[in-house]
């Protein structure tokens, strides 16, 4: 590795180091606070390493908040969305990339146009539709639309499949595969790297979603993990059990964090690939 030292490089390095500090300190502080007894939170100067280390918050949080229900509901939503959306979107991407059918381009442009309209325009009417079909206060508004189509994933996978040779389709047909067979047995397995990258993104956005469950659900039994931890947010900090809140926030972060550590390379790739073509 070439590493030349010049004053400008040193300055940039220091700026980036300070930036990195600002990125990681809040999380360390969250961890530290979550391990404190509630009354130790207000000591000045602040304690970075809690004395004593108190794991009690991680036990109490399950009874003091709706976290468990939240994790259950968010898991259901995430699993359904990942499975169905990967299936429907990759199938559509395959069709857009390799098949000829009427109105192909019109349909594709229609789908792209959905990216132009701000989400909030759809929110109120979606609420109206969901209340008509009795979907309010169920998990369906978070599952069904997202499972039918994700234009980002379609766009991304279409780009990827464009790079695969068309001859694969012809070969599959000669071997007696139908179009679905060609998709399922040939193209889907070949898309694996791109799909892995997308699953990470989808997991992150689905797990972290707050706006939709906030608007479309009311009862405690239907809260998602983000809504459950947001409930711990009180307007008056004095009434809040801060260590408990930090413990809950940290637990809610864990699945995404673990996935990120395991698959950081794919994560970066998925962004880079979609970004260039954006």
């Amino acid at each position: 590795m070439k590493w030349k030292t010049s004053p400008r490089r040193v300055i940039i390095f220091i700026i980036i180091l300070v930036g990195a500090g600002s990125m990681i300190l809040p999380f360390l502080w969250m961890l530290s606070t979550s391990l404190k007894e509630a009354n130790l939170v207000y000591t000045i100067p602040p304690q970075w390493i809690p004395k004593p280390v108190n794991w009690q918050n991680y036990k109490d949080v399950w009874t003091a908040s709706n976290l468990l229900t939240g994790i259950k509901n968010s898991s259901i939503i995430t699993i359904f969305v990942l499975l169905f959306s990967t299936f429907t979107s990759s199938m559509a991407a395959f069709a857009f990339s390799k098949l000829t059918f009427p109105f192909k381009n019109v349909i594709f442009i229609m789908l792209l146009s959905t990216m132009m309209v701000p989400l909030v325009v759809l929110l109120v009417p979606q609420f109206v539709i969901y209340s008509k079909i009795k979907w309010i206060d169920t998990l369906l508004p978070m599952i069904v639309p997202a499972s039918l189509c994700n234009i980002n994933v379609i766009f991304f996978l279409r780009q990827y499949i464009n790079g695969l040779p068309k001859e694969l389709l012809d070969a599959a047909k000669i071997d007696g595969c139908g179009y679905f067979g060609a998709y399922w047995r040939i193209f889907l397995p070949l898309c694996k790297p791109a799909i892995v990258a997308n699953i990470i993104m989808l997991f992150m956005t689905t797990w972290n979603d707050y706006f939709a469950p906030l608007v479309f659900t009311h009862s405690e039994s239907k809260q998602t993990v983000q809504v459950a931890i947001a409930m711990l947010n009180s307007h008056f900090i004095q009434q809040t059990n801060i260590p408990l809140m930090m413990a809950a926030a940290l637990i809610a972060e864990l699945p995404v964090l673990i996935l990120f550590v395991l698959a950081q390379k794919h994560f970066t790739e998925s962004f880079a690939m979609t970004g260039i073509k954006g």
Partner: protein
């Protein structure tokens, strides 16, 4: 033979249409229908609590433009554009450093992505604690370096807004840098070699080669950033659940959300959404027009 070919073509058409059916369904039911309902509702006094729905013409719109809260929310919404240039500049700096193989770039990159992968709800909970006026780490630090009256971040709308600007910028730097790292990789080496021969310094090269050549990426990020920033909501709802003192923190999306789901005025909220949608659309269009002046269009 020809018939066989036609049959093949037909079965391909059917397969293709079948494969995109879920997408079409999504487009019709969850996109086109809501838009139609939104436009229709904006001309009615639709209230989820009362059964009679009446056509009221433009009354929602005139009421909206006469509401000082709307204008305040619009002002706050535009304020939320401030993070966009901030994170773009820092992301470019960071991306450039990574591109030049800065020491420890792998670790740095992982750390810089950390805020982005976290949920906004978790982040706001941490920030509320960090920026607590009395016991928050930030104000303890500020007092430590001699600031006598550090701001009441969560109580004063002015400071709450700046805190949100800081938070969004902080959150986005890492992820935006990925786009720049990819863009910088795509700049052909030969151009730099030619510039080296001509004796251009690395700073000159950055400003007259790199920066102009990555303008398409910058433009894309500006458009996406603008559309995203104008829709800031979760931060507002978490930091100032009532919109802040004097509605000083509320954004338009927050305003729409309050009108629709706290006071059940679906018609009025729809009218606001229509106006806001057109506003975003117009701003994006203006950006596209201006872009011809500064975005590099290829050979």
């Amino acid at each position: 033979m020809r018939e066989r070919k036609n049959n093949l073509k037909r079965s391909e058409s059917i397969a293709g249409l079948l494969f995109v059916t879920p997408s079409i369904l999504y487009f019709l039911v969850f996109f086109l229908l809501p838009i139609a309902i939104c436009i229709y509702a904006s001309f009615t006094n639709w209230n989820i609590l009362s059964p009679n729905r009446m056509f009221v013409g433009l009354r929602n719109f005139t009421k909206l433009f006469a509401d000082p809260k709307f204008w305040k929310a619009l002002e706050n919404t535009l304020f939320m554009l401030i993070p966009v240039p901030i994170y773009i500049i820092f992301a470019l700096l960071f991306g450039y450093a990574c591109h030049k193989n800065i020491l420890g770039q792998k670790v740095f990159r992982a750390v810089y992505y950390l805020p982005f992968i976290s949920s906004v709800v978790s982040l706001t909970l941490i920030w509320k604690w960090l920026f607590n006026a009395e016991y928050g780490l930030v104000n303890i630090f500020l007092k430590g370096v001699g600031v006598e009256n550090p701001p009441n971040w969560l109580g004063d709308p002015f400071w709450t807004k700046w805190m949100i600007v800081l938070m969004i910028s902080w959150k986005m730097i890492g992820i935006i840098s990925i786009y720049y790292i990819a863009a910088l990789k795509a700049v052909p080496r030969t151009i730099y070699e030619a510039a080296d021969i001509d004796g251009a310094s690395s700073l000159q090269q950055f400003f007259s080669i790199t920066l102009p050549l990555i303008t398409p990426t910058t433009f894309y990020l500006l458009i996406v950033g603008l559309i995203g920033s104008l829709q800031t909501f979760v931060e507002i709802q978490m930091f100032a659940p009532d919109g802040g003192r004097g509605y000083g923190v509320a954004t338009i999306v927050f305003y729409i959300w309050q009108k629709a789901f706290s006071s059940s005025q679906m018609g009025y909220a729809s009218a606001t959404a229509v106006v806001f949608g057109l506003f975003i659309f117009a701003l994006t269009a203006i950006q596209f027009i201006i872009s011809r002046k500064w975005v590099y269009g290829g050979e």
